[in-house]
Symmetry: C4
Subunit: 263 residues, 4 copies
């Protein structure tokens, strides 16, 4: 048995991991959008017509419809808007179908962070963890999946021993009333790539749909794990192991995301 | 990055949410009926041949068969009855196959509330929550999914801070013996859109199959969440946050549902 | 809205539920056998190549192979044996593939009870409940899914308030060593339609494959529920509600099953 | 009803179980590789682009790509390397896609043990159990699924009453830093077929992809069960029942695996 990893030819298969790697599948399509809705339903993120996704693909913005069963959405049910020409590209034939009430939040998040995708889930873990954590931030450190989270300051992923911080805001009667609290999160937590809404769910944003989906899965895993840790009195943050990030600089904020945003 | 949500053209994509929005998929079909049975099986609602659905589509009433494995039901296995002409449209070729024993309950609920669909699940959460809650009502407030529940008095959805109340009745040896307890629920809880049957399961009804399915998913989520809340001594109802509904009027009851009922 | 259930034509859709109703799908086929293996894998019953099924279809006996991944079994991988002619009908092309080591147990159970199907699962609930219940029987009463369990004495289903009793035996190093303990169960618990093997799994048998599958799902639900009940100190058996079965007679044992057995 | 198991013809269907039985599906293919990625995603093992698999098929080594969503991997995304000729056979068209960072670990494990397959999961159970078990080994005995684990010393499976031991190592900032700890595991625990990485996941290796997948499922089941046992203060190891393995001999180590390795 050869130790293949030392072959020069094998080593050529390995390159540095950079953020561009993540965007292999190309721009979002309507076919993929509706398939992702089914997948998110099956993951328990979009039951009861809940949850939403907004995604920029080239000059087009795609947003899920409101109140429709997410696992049954057809391509024609997705709202498509040209953000360069500021024109409607497509809307559901049934004019009474409304664009997701999260649109106002997606617009703010995309504008402020340069993100091209926002995913909003009604994951049970996202809801329940906000009942365990009474403070205004969820924090966890020393977990492998933290390495799946981008840091908008550095454009790289967090390290295993970093502390992932997700702000928690209180829920409001309507989605639009979450606008100001989320604006506060974006201002006060410039490193944040997600926010938990108490008794409601989770918003995650990132430079591409692939990275946003991957981060949402990483966070959902960490939230579900954290609930078990809370129940068994395991500490979420290992203080001793915390490595202070020293290249954190506010002026770097959103630089990377903005560079990648096509609009 | 533009703040698209303020474009006049984008704003035209947004309209007021009304109840009619929900009914985009049109009338129930046999194909959809059997697909929903598979989906409900996979959600854990109809294991062991349990659970049932009754649905009015135009002048036809479709009801699932009794005792058959719900994930294997074919279109020909669904009972179809013309409620205008009072005639059988279709029944399973095997004459020994019986219509769901829930028929008597579905008939009562549809008649009394004007609902066009009733879904009966054997969800584990629906069963277990009735062992945590010893009183005769399950109540929860301040949860986003409460906004997925219709209020038959107002024809609108409940608000986030409203208290969702689901009556709990004791189980009986046979489904038909649940008739009088459910009649009592409909009389004493006119706002109810669901009832829990202790150690058994859940019944949910609504104006369309889409709204009924959506509400069943919302309630199932809330029941599963409530079990975790009970285990961890979190309060299900936030008394301080309770907003008294002031337009509740018994004479408005079922008006909306009746208007929509085609028969 | 009419109260359809009182229409004479609708009432004709309802007939007495008898045991024959359950057998609508007809005899087991190789296609269905392999589909069921996939389904049982997805239910968590047959992970890691574990679990097995034996089923009589006409004069043929079908048994799953040993050690193969159950969700990947092809029709040609199923052992088929003609029990009338005592001849091999089919075996996997790869002669090293062995018939399930449960064969010896299936043979005993089918012979002693007249059952045409035995399902053996490695469900996690079946394993864990045997760690909660230290005694030699699992008992639960007052659960709707108890109505899904046949009573071989009466040929009818148990009642809601009946106590379902499933004997628990200790595991042994090899499947064949379970032969005598299972023989003991069949002798001492003639009403049993299932046995739990501690730290191992569950065996369920019944007159047809449909009824056996339905019962396995009902029992799996009850075991998972019972674990939650044990954790929260809810009583599994409601003594007050116990209704003594008075037509239990040992001479009636297996009569029904034997009548239906084609061999 | 005949007792078929005693028929001479039926008995011919039964042969001794040997390790060769397990390898019925033949060599790994790209089609199967990508299907397994989907399956592992659905099992919760490879969320958020996590997890990896390396597999030798004839003279080819197949390894999953890094950072891509595992449930969306296409055949062209799998790295294929000829280990005899030491040449690249295939790599993703997008040259920025990197081979799994686990390659270095897979290479070590395959070289040291003669294994042809390594599966790396990010199962939640694998993570959480390392928080319950503070020591450096996970141990469990008297569980049926222990019989699904191969013993590289004997070339046979463990017995029901054996103690399965899985070493636990601490996580490191990068996968390559796990190289020395895993080398230590291979040296100090020559019987090991798996290692847990604290707050990260699980590595499992075996003579074929089939046996490795089966063992990973068995271990995942045991870990999930063990978490429930820990929560309820059930002992993982039954000391009294421990049967000392007496044919354990270090010189036999990897003999079997090496014999089967084609390279």
């Amino acid at each position: 048995m050869t130790d293949f990893v030392k072959d020069p030819n094998f080593q050529e298969l390995v390159v540095d991991t950079t953020i561009e790697n993540r965007n292999d599948e190309g721009p979002m399509t309507l076919e993929n959008f509706t398939k992702l809705m089914v997948q998110f339903y099956e993951l328990g993120w979009m039951r009861g017509s809940g949850g939403a996704m907004g995604c920029i693909s080239g000059s087009e913005l795609m947003i899920s419809p409101s109140a429709l069963q997410k696992e049954r959405i057809r391509e024609q049910d997705v709202f498509v808007y040209n953000i360069s020409q500021k024109t409607e590209v497509q809307r559901p034939p049934n004019k009474r179908i409304t664009v997701s009430s999260c649109s106002v939040l997606f617009s703010l998040i995309m504008k402020e962070t340069g993100s091209e995708c926002v995913i909003h889930t009604h994951s049970k873990s996202a809801n329940l963890i906000t009942q365990f954590i009474k403070s205004s931030t969820f924090e966890i450190s020393h977990q492998e999946y933290i390495k799946g989270i981008y840091d908008p300051f550095s454009g790289k992923c967090l390290k295993y021993s970093d502390t992932l911080t997700i702000p928690i805001i209180d829920n409001m009667p309507s989605e639009s009333q979450l606008l100001e609290p989320i604006r506060g999160v974006l201002e006060n937590h410039p490193q944040a790539i997600a926010v938990l809404v108490r008794n409601h769910g989770l918003f995650v944003w990132g430079p591409t749909w692939e990275s946003t989906k991957i981060m949402t899965e990483c966070i959902d895993y960490l939230l579900e794990l954290a609930i078990e840790m809370e129940k068994n009195n395991f500490k979420l943050v290992n203080e001793d192991g915390y490595e202070k990030e020293d290249n954190l600089s506010e002026k770097m904020r959103t630089l990377l995301f903005s560079d990648m945003a096509p609009v």
